[in-house]
């Protein structure tokens, strides 16, 4: 199995190193992401309806499907080919609006855990369905802002090039993560401002990040819960360069 994983890792690495080469010091023109300064406030962008974002151009970002980890994984035909991204700066914040087509809304409302010791509770919180996974999305960028000349590995960075991941989950909310390569993700437990809505078979999720300098690379990922996506089983974009 280790050999197989090694082979997969190497092959993924080869694919990604090609991508990396394309996203290195001189990104292709099509991979730049316009970031206009918005006249709307950060709060309005975060919570506002389409009006707050309507003036900002949409960038269609192509998504790739990660290869399966095991031969026995259920096949997941690519259902989400692209992501509509809008970016804006406002009030020292960087906001992203990610929108994508997903015919199934995979989210549940978890029962509130009463703020009392378990032994004093009359009823235990029952678990929801055990075999469900939830829709999610993430924005990843290099932790070190002074490495504009080279983009970290798309596989969640590496030891020399750690990444920050702003992860939003339809059930569990928004959380900042850090990683230094595959399987090293650390949940910081730190939340960040995010909002989401689901209408007409589309997710519309807004992320509020601290401002990032022009030239910083960002990458996006989307998980489709009904395809049992979690972990590296997801859709991902190549690096985009902020204008």
């Amino acid at each position: 199995m280790r050999t197989r994983q090694f082979v997969i890792t190497v092959s993924v690495g080869l694919v990604l190193s090609t991508v990396w080469a394309q996203t290195g010091a001189k990104p292709a023109a099509g991979q730049s992401l316009p970031v206009p300064a918005s006249s709307a406030s950060a709060d309005a962008l975060l919570n506002g309806g389409p009006g707050a974002w309507s003036q900002i151009a949409v960038k269609h970002v192509a998504l790739n499907r990660t290869p399966p980890l095991y031969d026995t994984d259920e096949p997941a035909p690519p259902e989400i080919p692209s992501l509509d991204v809008r970016a804006a700066r406002s009030g020292g914040k960087l906001l992203f609006q990610l929108s994508w087509h997903d015919p199934t809304r995979d989210a549940v409302t978890l029962a509130e855990v009463p703020n009392t010791p378990p032994e004093t509770r009359f009823r235990k919180v029952p678990t929801e369905a055990d075999d469900r996974f939830f829709d999610a999305a993430a924005v990843m960028f290099p932790e070190k802002s002074d490495i504009n000349t080279i983009a970290p590995s798309l596989q969640m960075g590496d030891a020399e090039h750690p990444v920050e991941i702003y992860y939003w989950n339809a059930t569990r909310g928004a959380m900042v993560m850090q990683a230094q390569g595959r399987s090293t993700t650390k949940r910081t437990g730190k939340p960040f401002p995010a909002s989401s809505s689901y209408q007409n078979d589309r997710w519309n999720v807004i992320f509020e990040l601290p401002d990032l300098a022009a030239g910083t690379t960002v990458a996006f990922a989307v998980w489709n819960g009904s395809q049992k996506d979690r972990d590296g089983r997801k859709y991902f974009s190549v690096w985009q360069v902020l204008e």
């Binding site: 199995m1 009359f122 979690r230």
Partner: protein, 333 residues
């Protein structure tokens, strides 16, 4: 491979299906939010569906060196945890009887004592199950987060709750389905072989509470331990589904009691209560050799001799059944 390996032997001839072990474990470890449906230790009636339903048939484990992940069991397979309306009945003066809610449709030992038929005679036996703390754990290999590890000092397999992100690859990989997902915490949980008790020199809660005294606990590579003697010296205990390739460290003395009514003079193999095919299904073909050995030991005592293996299986006191003092981890091989 860990330096030492804790192991458990369960004598299925002695299990009376009382679920005391289940409750001991449940109250100690799975009395928290999100663990309502979880039983790190369960006792199921065999033949039967088991918990989760059909766990023995949906897959998992290893084949030709490759992981064979199965589909995830659903909550219907586990059985939703139900509660009773005690509050209304006992405190609010409502007249309706005590009723479970939600309506039970399956459960941890749903087909209790149903069993099956062998030549028009019903048979069943009880199968207590915990995590097998395998030597070659499929769950550990399947975890992309490396959140599962096997403790070097005692071979106990645990999940690092800090690293776990609830991906559930481990549940798919485990052929025994002994890992559970806690939806409240978003992480997976499993039997920890009561290592905090063992570290204090106390035996596992399931073993300590067992009124049938059917559990034996010790370090497999400790020549003085009962598990070493039963598994490696007398060779009368076998793991469940050895063909799954995970090398479990929980072993069972296969059931052949009670004898059928008219079996005087007949061997267990000639006139088995539990069909041999079924025992072979559970424990592999070696179960036949184990029965031959057990019969030879029985015969020895019936002829006035003494059987060390049967004396050990009787397990009169805790000193015989357990060898878990912390210093035993330091044994020299």
């Amino acid at each position: 491979m860990s330096k030492h390996q804790y192991a458990m032997v369960m004598d299925l001839n002695k299990c009376l299906g009382c679920q005391t072990c289940t409750i001991a474990c449940k109250k100690l470890w799975t009395d928290r939010d999100g663990t309502g449906y979880m039983y790190w230790n369960n006792v199921e009636t065999r033949p039967g569906l088991g918990y989760p339903r059909q766990w023995d048939r949906i897959g998992g484990g290893w084949k030709d060196g490759l992981l064979q992940p199965s589909p995830l069991p659903t909550m219907d397979d586990y059985g939703h945890a139900w509660e009773y309306n005690y509050e209304q009945r006992l405190y609010e003066g409502k007249k309706q009887p005590v009723m479970p809610s939600p309506e039970p449709e399956s459960g941890v030992n749903w087909d209790e004592d149903v069993g099956s038929m062998n030549e028009d005679e019903n048979y069943f036996f009880y199968l207590p199950r915990i995590c097998n703390h395998c030597t070659h754990p499929a769950c550990l290999e399947a975890c992309p987060r490396k959140a599962i590890y096997k403790r070097d000092e005692d071979g106990i397999v645990v999940i690092d709750q800090e690293r776990c992100q609830g991906y559930r690859y481990c549940i798919k990989a485990c052929p025994y389905k002994k890992i559970y997902f806690n939806e409240v915490t978003g992480k997976s949980e499993k039997c920890i072989f009561c290592y905090p008790r063992l570290e204090k020199g106390q035996v596992n809660a399931c073993a300590a509470q067992c009124p049938g005294r059917l559990r034996f606990v010790g370090i497999l590579d400790d020549p003085e331990s009962p598990v070493h003697k039963l598994v490696l010296v007398h060779k009368i205990a076998l793991p469940l589904f050895p063909e799954k390739g995970t090398q479990p460290n929980v072993f069972y003395v296969p059931p052949f009691n009670p004898p059928k009514r008219d079996n005087y003079g007949k061997s267990i193999q000639e006139d088995p209560r539990v069909p041999l095919d079924y025992l072979i299904y559970l424990f592999g073909p070696e179960v036949k050799d184990v029965i031959v050995r057990l019969e030879a030991e029985l015969k020895k005592t019936q002829e006035g001799g003494r059987s060390e293996a049967l004396q050990l299986l009787i397990g009169r006191d805790a000193e015989t059944r357990y060898r878990v003092r912390p210093q035993l981890v330091q044994i020299q091989l």
